[in-house]
Assembly symmetry: C2
């Protein structure tokens, strides 16, 4: 397996949730025209549509608490990242947190200057 | 987005869990030398190593109850499949089921004769 896929994947997850929880509009830089997002079964494609979806979700304050991060190299130089965790929404700290899982496929930017999100699938895990 | 990725992904999931829950050794046909599996953080590569891992897990009877399946086309003609569900282990039906999530990247076999598993990441979602 390739060398630094785990380092890249874990750094991405830290960056992604920090942006999501503090300045969601900054996530736009991670997506491109080809990018796809499924959020609780609702599927959109392209940077603008994804940003519109992420910034109009029905909660204001949210905190992601990651419990596991697994990274694999995948086809065509991509990195697959699978996360499980807790989601604390709108400071409802008296309620048990929601469990969630999320999967990303990251692709390298031209010139090795970073990574962009090809796929993003988010689900609450009600079980 | 491509036409039948959702159909392929959902048919794969049905086949995969049926084999897992009734004849785990049959899963070997889905993996190749490049395939990677992470099972609860333990990572193995290649058809033989993956089969050895899957057939020596510390439970005998298991039942996957899928609650959500999300499919995306991904890079290089692959299909990304993200599943959430419940896992009932060794007929412990008196206990609440464990929640899990699992992600696959499927790649087409040469000649369009089927699909193989490039990546497989499984996690219980303790949250």
């Amino acid at each position: 397996m390739e060398a630094n896929f785990e380092q890249v994947g874990k750094a991405f997850i830290q960056h992604y949730y920090q942006a999501f929880d503090t300045n969601r509009a900054a996530l736009a830089d991670l997506y491109q025209g080809e990018s796809m997002l499924s959020f609780e079964g609702s599927q959109v494609q392209g940077k603008e549509a994804i940003l519109a979806k992420l910034t109009t979700l029905p909660f204001t304050h949210v905190q992601h608490q990651v419990t596991s991060t697994d990274c694999h190299p995948t086809t065509n130089g991509g990195i697959l990242v699978h996360v499980c965790g807790n989601l604390v929404v709108d400071q409802e700290s008296d309620k048990p947190p929601l469990k969630y899982s999320q999967t990303f496929v990251l692709m390298p930017l031209p010139g090795g200057t970073g990574w962009w999100v090809f796929n993003d699938i988010f689900r609450l895990n009600y079980g």
